[in-house]
Symmetry: C2
Subunit: 262 residues, 2 copies
């Protein structure tokens, strides 16, 4: 990513971070988050702490521009607006809050990490799922192991509970950081698969909070839906690090195509 | 609210919608949501379905401008950016998604409404709480009855569970709608009171989804925190209508002042 003007950065969108032919939403927010961080560098706000993105039009792999406008830089919080533009058209726009994260335990927490079988007993998601109509290049850069209990959809018998849980690592062996966690927060497959809905569920809006710096090692991710109606589904994601601490959380609203009422 | 130019609306911020001397965040998002709705009127997107606001600087009661820029108008979804500006300075900026809500039951739901004692057995929140250092004008326009179980903070013995639940009505007797529900989603007092933290918790970022049109009558609201660390707290809100259906949900990140570690 190269700065070529005040608040404007050149980015190359990498097709590896795709699901089918669509670039992954969390990856696009990470690109904007990186530009935001460079834009307010030096101010004591090294980490993205909150991102709220609105997805306007899917971009294509290849060159794009990230335009960052600073809204406010305070003592502990910096706020920017960041736009991902390609071929002169707005593709994703986000409000990004920056601050300082650390590895400290929570002062208070109501959350226990999701229970999962040991990592090696979970199902490694393939780039080319057998029988699937599309390939998932993202699974070449994210090593995701799905709880076998949530794999029933693949055998045509979805559980109907509306939950997906998995272990995730970065395939190149690097550790998670606040930007890559934005990818972990929007996992594949969507919860709708566990409800018998197999179609594409494009994100309309996604808000993510980064809560602390993750410990080295894999993260555990739990994705759950609350309510589906009117071709809209929410998905709530939580990510815990290898020490069992909540490191990130997100809520998204996605469009979903519904069959006739059950 | 008067349109005085392409995408620009004059608003008067009403001090009634305040907590202490600060205008309520959900009210400010409702002002922007109303401007957004007028801005894309006529396109079959009558309702706000998602709002994600970033709070830059608290506005004062009195005149302000709402500036709306349309990002995309599609068949079922319209997306805009809306800025609340006062004295030439940006106070709140939001991405707002508009669409069509109805009263239909969910196709699928994992959510049961919060259990509350009958409305008349809950504690009516006063404008001037005895012993409190600030008055809450908002309680003159919202009739909020708090579950007595969550009132222990007022006696100096907070439960430590990090939950607040209440019945809410609009005090003028009108029914809830998608815009007023934005106020219900950010209730007073904050969850931090239930954890022994009595200070002000300014919202940094709030994302709300409106899920369906509410039935007439009161709504039930549940607010819960997940994790508090590094002077940041998340609060997750759910609102159910009188028929027990989820009508709105929100997640916010707020700044919180922490005492020394317990």
């Amino acid at each position: 990513m190269t700065a070529y003007g005040e608040g404007e950065f050149a980015a190359t969108l990498d097709a590896q971070w795709s699901v089918g032919s669509r670039l992954h939403g969390g990856y696009l927010l990470a690109v904007l988050g990186r530009a935001a961080g460079e834009s307010v560098a030096g101010g004591g706000h090294p980490h993205v702490t909150a991102v709220s993105g609105t997805f306007v039009e899917p971009p294509e792999p290849g060159p794009a521009a990230a335009r960052v406008e600073t809204l406010r830089v305070g003592r502990t919080v910096a706020q920017v607006r960041a736009a991902l533009v390609q071929e002169g058209r707005l593709r994703v726009e986000a409000h990004i809050t920056l601050g300082l994260l650390d590895e400290a335990d929570p002062w208070w927490s109501a959350h226990e990490p999701v229970r999962l079988p040991p990592e090696q007993d979970c199902f490694l998601m393939p780039v080319d799922p057998p029988g699937a109509t599309l390939s998932v290049p993202l699974m070449g850069v994210i090593e995701e192991r799905l709880d076998p209990e949530h794999l029933a959809f693949a055998a045509g018998a979805p559980s109907g509970r509306g939950v997906m849980a998995s272990w995730q690592r970065l395939a190149d062996g690097s550790d998670w950081d606040p930007l890559s966690l934005l990818v972990a927060l929007d996992p594949v497959p969507p919860v709708s698969f566990d409800l018998g809905l197999s179609g594409w569920v494009p994100t309309i809006q996604l808000s993510a909070y980064l809560r602390r710096l993750p410990a080295p090692g894999p993260v555990r991710v739990r994705l759950a839906a609350t309510d589906i109606a009117g071709e809209r589904m929410d998905e709530v994601a939580h990510v815990w690090d290898d020490k069992g601490r909540l490191v990130a959380q997100a809520t998204q609203l996605a469009a979903v195509r519904l069959p006739d009422r059950r």
